[in-house]
């Protein structure tokens, strides 16, 4: 174990991984604080279309005129929608966690297979999350937490999807 001169166990404080149970309880607590503070539950993908629209606008596409945005893009203020902040926060939090543990490393894409997996997987997640009205957080987590039937349906079918995904993964992406 690496101990600093002051005798503080840096490894335990910043590096040693926490148990899954610890993670589960802390996430539940954070989500509860969030819902108490903001009045809305944690969700990730609700703001994704707007991120896409804003970027499209920046590269010259008039996405704001599209039916799905209908002028909302011009009113987009990053810090006004909490999910924008929590999404970027997750990236930053994970970044900080790895840095403080001195285990940050940039992992470059290794094969074209990984690109294909990301393209297909990402697109399926995006469409799926929109149809189900939530991703694994906004749909599954926030749905089940609310004692909503749609959360339970989500739980059943996301597992079924995982079964299919696993065989596809084994067959094409290993």
């Amino acid at each position: 174990m690496e101990k600093s001169k002051k005798g503080i166990d840096l490894d335990s404080l910043l590096k040693k991984e926490w148990s899954y149970t610890t993670g589960a309880v802390l996430i539940a607590l954070l989500a509860t604080v969030l819902v108490l503070v903001v009045g809305k539950s944690w969700g990730v993908t609700g703001v994704f279309p707007f991120w896409g629209g804003v970027i499209l606008e920046k590269i010259g596409v008039n996405a704001d005129s599209w039916s799905i945005f209908n002028g909302k893009l011009s009113k987009f203020v990053f810090f006004k929608k909490f999910a924008n902040i929590t999404n970027v926060g997750i990236i930053i939090g994970a970044f900080i966690a790895s840095l403080l543990a001195a285990s940050f490393k940039i992992k470059m894409i290794k094969s074209f297979r990984q690109v294909v997996a990301a393209v297909i997987g990402g697109t399926l997640m995006g469409i799926g999350a929109t149809l189900a009205m939530g991703c694994n957080i906004g749909g599954l987590f926030s749905g089940i937490s609310a004692l909503s039937l749609h959360g339970w349906v989500y739980l059943v079918f996301i597992f079924l999807g995982a079964i299919v995904g696993s065989s596809i993964l084994k067959k094409w992406f290993m």
Binding site: I27, I90, I92, L124, G134
Partner: protein, 239 residues
Amino acid sequence: MSETTQTKIKRTGRRREAVKPEERKKKQLIQRIIGVIAVILVIFMAIFAQGINQKGAFIVLIGVGFGYVLQRSRFCLTAAIRDPFLTGGTELTKALIILLAVSSFLYMGINMAKFGLGLETLNLKLAAGYIKPVGLHTAIGAFLFGIGAVIAGGCASGTLMRIGEGFTQQWIAIIFFVTGTIIGKFLMPIVKKSSVLYTGKAIFLPSLFGGWLGAVIVHFGLLFALYIAADKWSRRKQK
């Protein structure tokens, strides 16, 4: 973890050139310093956010907290749904169940206070959590999401976490994830026109099971049963 390893397992040689301990200590210190700088920047970001959003500072800290906890506990929701079928492991599945049990318990407390023990002031739109329409579209959407998350190697939270950890594959995943949601948004009006796919009905378990007690028994009973099942599953799969 020490740099000069005295392993109990005898190995014939090091797999890679061992980096000198002094160089490693230097690299680690640099990472930690950048980490501390990032923490300070987060504090500035929180102050800045507070200027635009009344609750900005809290949201920044909670968001960063999510990312920190997810990474630190290696919490991968995708693995929770995938591992039982890919590797036979259910540790994360059980952790997911614990997460859902704790959060639904806490949310329920909030909602009981909001709606009353007899659901006198029930208003789904004011609930903690999301009570959304349930229908075939939910099943299809969740199914597609499950496939996609396993193939992409990360779900919504997992993709964000991995971007923060330095995985470049997830940059591609998120671009197409965003694209997918835009495609989805174009599809939704069409889906909503089909009464087979979409009914627009949101169903709150206490309303379905005659009050809080019925819902509690079913909901937490199912979670408990799933936990036991997950535990038995991994024992069965032990090679």
